[in-house]
């Protein structure tokens, strides 16, 4: 087999990174909407809140499937080690997503059990988010391996750090959800979304601070990467930009800006994600296997790349069209009724 012209591993790391970020962003805001749902003032408000994501949540969740399958296709060794290591967080996440997903339909068709599926939607969203936070925390902490297998215990994921990242992600998605609702609602409901956004924002701020300080202490390599000269000069824009965005987020939440809180929240997620990538690179199974160790054969990556480069732009186009069709404020008569 001929060596490919370019190192496909770089490309696939980029595509996977982009795919996971899209998932975090898109399902992040609709899971966040689910988290805030329970606090919405009254049934009509809850209906509007749910209708604001009814036409798009399914597409958003598809990125999770793509993320999982892209990991399997491009870095199968990582898939084969990380998923068994996260057996229970993933189980909890999947079951919570089942509950939350069917709630959209069940809630409106099953009038007597409205309350039950209201809770199913809210707790499903919250638990799924928390479980994803556990996944994130466990990933940062790394996995015990033996050859090509996970060799640790199935409860290894349960640590103070992963519990913290679990809570952090609930606040984070909550902030994204509040940002989305500020765009999609008006009047009193929008004011309510702003208040929720402020509460989540404080949680996010504290979480980012603790995680950013805690992570370098877990691995000397990460500490060295951030705090030695000249890296500290190159990398200092990341925390500085984060602080600036945090300031903007607070201003936007307290002003009449409608798009500001969402955009700033996306920015905060992007920078946190970037910070994580800087800490972890080039590990895909921390701290055992690099992206290159875990990569699938170039023939597989090439075959996948052809279609992906062609299809992703098309997917983004029609997904964009769908968002455009449902643009504007959420309406009671569009969605479930």
């Amino acid at each position: 087999m001929n060596a490919p012209l370019i190192d496909l591993v770089w490309l696939w790391a980029g595509i996977l990174g982009l795919g996971v970020f899209f998932y975090v962003l898109l399902d992040g805001f609709d899971l966040g909407v689910g988290i805030l749902f329970r606090f919405a003032p009254g049934r009509e408000a809850r209906n509007l809140v749910m209708n604001s994501i009814a036409p798009i949540w399914d597409g958003n969740e598809t990125w999770l499937v793509l993320g999982g399958l892209a990991l399997l296709a491009a870095f199968p060794l990582a898939f084969a080690i990380i998923l068994p290591a996260l057996y229970f967080p993933l189980l909890i996440m999947l079951l919570a997503l089942v509950f939350r997903g069917v709630s959209f339909e069940f809630r409106y068709r099953d009038a007597e059990h409205l309350t039950f599926w209201d809770y199913g939607f809210c707790y499903g969203s919250t638990v799924a988010t928390f479980a994803q936070g556990l996944v994130l925390g466990s990933f940062i902490q790394g996995f015990e391996t033996d050859g090509r297998h996970f060799a640790g215990h199935s409860l290894d994921f349960l640590t103070p750090f992963s519990l913290l990242t679990g809570v952090a992600l609930v606040f984070g998605y909550g902030l994204l959800g509040a940002g989305w609702l500020i765009i999609k609602t008006e009047g009193e409901l929008q004011d309510w979304a702003r208040r929720q956004g402020k509460r989540c924002f404080l949680g996010v701020l504290i979480s980012i601070a603790i995680v950013s300080l805690w992570t370098p202490f877990m691995q000397d390599e990460i500490a060295r990467r951030w705090f030695t000269w000249p890296n500290i000069a190159f990398l200092s824009p990341v925390p500085i930009a984060t602080a600036a965005l945090a300031f903007w987020e607070w201003r936007a939440l307290n002003s009449r800006s409608e798009a500001g809180p969402f955009v700033a929240a996306v920015g905060l997620f992007l920078l946190s994600y970037l910070g994580l990538a800087i800490s972890m690179f080039p590990m895909i199974v921390p701290y055992q296997f690099t992206l290159w160790d875990a990569a699938s054969t170039p023939a597989t990556q090439e075959f996948m790349l052809l279609g992906t480069l062609f299809l992703l732009p098309i997917i983004l186009m029609y997904t964009g069209w769908s968002y455009w069709v449902f643009r504007g404020k959420a309406r009671a008569d569009i969605g479930y009724h």
Partner: protein, 465 residues
């Protein structure tokens, strides 16, 4: 008690995939049906098609939602419980599944919102395109997932280096020997399954004396479709069987419970296969018919199970009986279709109460046949995940403990046993309501002021009292 992570993982996979496949088996057909109805409405402007379409869109929404969330569970099973399989086969299998996501799931999800909620927001042709794209997505999805499954059944186009599969030809991998038959068999099965559900619903509405016009239209359209598809499915199934004889002889021997290789063999209608005794008890058989069906000649030779080492034989009884259940369902379907010809010729298709009642009872035949067929082909592949090359026992996650799988299996059982009955109940409620709603108006200017029934507590309670 010593809990076996392998057995429990197999049970868990069987549990989550069996419930999942019921939804695609239905939604693949309904999506196409909705696209056809939307197309007919666009062409003829007959509001009848629109009413029928709106009715099925609501039922589709519930089943599709359940299919999506139970489908998300599936790829994660490969990682959590079958990590060695993932590691060993990913080079081959993973791109096929990733292409399913890229070409099918996004297409379905991207246009689903417009199909379900967008009728007021986009022109009719765009709504039709959305329906068409959702239907196309479901079919593309079938293409890729069956390519992946068929490769596991009849692998080719790869090399094995250090115990890991590497691709040598993607065309050979995708278009492996059993793929065309499996794809045709499954897609037709989905249409037929949906067809019998539509029949049952139509018959119910007609017997209730409500929405008779809609019921007749559905009944008539569906019987025309089934007249073609049910006999066609039997021909495809026969061809699929010949393919299995060629490429998976041990599976075929198990299906027929034939222990000895021979020519001019009988067709065993019923038996109690004895795996350890390597024989059958309580046999009812028809001489020579086995060779005729399996080889299309009276003296054709068919390999028996004893040609294969005992540890390379599938569990015979399960495969034997599940295959007979599937064929039995097929015969019931054919019987109903033949009756419909007779009644249509005599112009009594819509006015025969016992026949409508029969159609009403027939809704699960497709689902039972699909499940039985998958049990046949998947259990028939055992003891392998990749036929002849990778054993199921070598595919499971090494770190997994039995009690861990037991916990997850129970969790999946509890949740699915809660979600599925409620989902079915809600769909049944929609059926009982019937396609009565006046179709939504086309694009309207400005904002609709009418609050919807479910949104206003007062009206909801008023409506219920």
């Amino acid at each position: 008690m010593d809990l076996d992570a392998l057995i429990l993982s197999r049970l868990q996979f069987a549990w989550v995939i069996a419930w999942h496949i019921l939804m695609p088996a239905f939604t693949i057909g309904v999506a196409s049906y909705i696209a056809v109805l939307e197309g007919l409405h666009l062409a003829t402007r007959n509001p009848l098609y629109l009413r029928i379409s709106n009715f099925w869109v609501k039922i589709f929404a519930i089943s599709f939602g359940m299919g999506v969330v139970t489908g998300i569970v599936m790829p994660f099973q490969f990682g959590t419980n079958w990590s060695r399989f993932s590691d060993i086969t990913a080079n081959i299998i993973a791109p096929l599944m990733a292409y399913e996501g890229l070409t099918a799931f996004f297409l379905e999800a991207g246009f689903l919102g417009v199909l379900l909620f967008g009728r007021k927001l986009v022109p009719p042709w765009a709504h039709f395109i959305a329906a068409l794209m959702v239907a196309t997505g479901t079919l593309i999805s079938a293409f890729w997932i069956l390519a992946a499954n068929s490769w596991m059944q009849t692998p080719q186009g790869h090399t094995l280096v250090d115990g890991i599969f590497f691709p040598t030809s993607w065309i050979e991998i995708i278009f492996n020997p059993s793929f065309p038959y499996r794809l045709a068999h499954m897609v037709v099965a989905c249409f037929v399954t949906t067809g019998f559900v539509v029949l049952a619903v139509a018959a119910y509405l007609m017997r209730q004396g409500r929405y008779v016009e809609e019921g007749r239209k559905m009944l008539s359209m569906t019987f025309k479709l089934l007249t073609v598809l049910v006999p066609l499915q039997m021909v495809i199934g026969d061809q699929h069987g010949l393919n299995t004889r060629e490429h998976q002889p041990a599976k075929l021997a198990a299906i027929e419970a034939h222990w000895e290789t021979g020519s001019g063999i009988p067709l065993i209608l019923f038996a109690l296969p004895d795996q350890t005794g390597e024989t059958n008890k309580a046999v009812i058989e028809v001489p020579l018919l086995g060779s005729l069906i399996l080889t299309h000649s009276l003296d054709g030779t068919v390999q028996g199970l004893k040609d294969f080492p005992a540890d390379e034989r599938p569990p015979v009884a399960i495969v034997f009986f599940s295959f007979r259940v599937m064929v039995g369902m097929g015969l019931i379907m054919l019987g109903i279709v033949v009756l419909s010809w007779y009644l249509r010729v005599r112009n009594r298709l819509y006015e025969t109460p016992w026949f409508l009642r029969l159609c009403g009872y027939a809704w699960p035949v497709g689902f039972i046949a699909v499940l039985a067929g998958w049990v046949t082909t998947e259990v028939g592949r055992q003891p392998w995940t990749v036929y002849g090359l990778l054993r199921t026992a070598d595919s499971v996650t090494p770190s997994l403990q039995g009690h861990e799988v037991l916990i997850s299996l129970i969790a999946y059982m509890v949740v699915y046993l809660m979600v599925y009955p409620i989902g079915v109940m809600l769909m049944w409620r929609l059926v009982k309501k019937g396609p009565g709603d006046v179709p939504a108006p086309p694009i309207e200017g400005g904002r609709s002021k009418a609050p919807v029934a479910a949104l206003s507590p007062a009206r909801r309670e008023g409506g219920e009292s």
